[in-house]
Symmetry: C2
Subunit: 156 residues, 2 copies
């Protein structure tokens, strides 16, 4: 696709798609309980020695969680409450020798809507939540959604 082919984007710039009235309210459905207690001590990604954690769910959402089972792979969506929302570019992994990179091309927690994605395996399920292996989120992090990792089409 050439630059000219992208006119479809520029042509509609005048359309008021970004009116300030557009705000969406998230509410936590649970919280992370973890030995990780501060952000600087948190591993950067789940395969870098993150500890097991417990997800404690608000009882109001018990029905939504009723079919979670040990062994399932799920994506936890978290609200990274310690993040900065006004950061648009970062030095990857805090290394100032590397060029600043727009946050949408990074996994920086600092970003306009600081939602974290964490793919984990459920190891145990209880009445008030479940345990997962290898979660890098710090203690108290709000959980906003839980989704199964997709398998083959016929099993969805």
């Amino acid at each position: 696709m050439s630059a000219n082919d992208f006119d479809s984007v520029d042509r509609d710039k005048g359309v008021d798609h970004f009116e300030s009235a557009d705000r969406f309210e998230l509410r936590p459905v649970g919280r992370v309980s973890s030995p990780l207690t501060d952000r600087t001590g948190a591993p950067r990604q789940p395969d870098e020695d993150a500890p097991p954690a417990t997800i404690r769910l608000d009882p109001e959402f018990a029905t939504a969680a009723a079919d979670l089972r040990p062994g399932m792979r799920v994506v936890l969506l978290t609200w990274l409450h310690a993040a900065r929302r006004d950061t648009l570019a970062v030095h990857p992994r805090g290394d100032r020798a590397r060029p600043a990179t727009g946050v949408f091309a990074t996994r920086s927690p600092d970003r306009p809507n600081p939602i974290g994605l964490h793919e984990v395996t459920i190891t145990a399920v209880g009445d008030a939540g479940f345990d997962v292996a290898g979660l890098e989120a710090i203690d108290g992090t709000p959980i906003v959604d839980i989704k199964p990792v997709l398998g083959a089409i016929e099993t969805r």
Copy 2:
């Protein structure tokens, strides 16, 4: 792990982790422009014949998007604005012959915080946004975040 081992969850039930003051505000950073215009016509998952789409970004976030490139695999996070937030269980794929399943074990758009995850390949980048292949979100869907699909640790 036995049921008794899960006492760590139940023991702390009295802690006020779910106070109503906890609300997080999302704001769109862009919108989907797509030939898909209604929810019933949308494919259920991206590998089921979803069409190409254009992501139009709010100019305010141009710096955050500056390092997106054709060929990159990214996860688009959308706000599924047509979804019902009070739905806690669904019949998978609308088939009432299948048992109702808690939404956290499904990819139903109807869920307490209706955030969609869409893994796509960027096919072209322009001043006001970018094109992607195979996106199942309907026209006008708000984009709330864009994250690179993780590669090997050393390239992060």
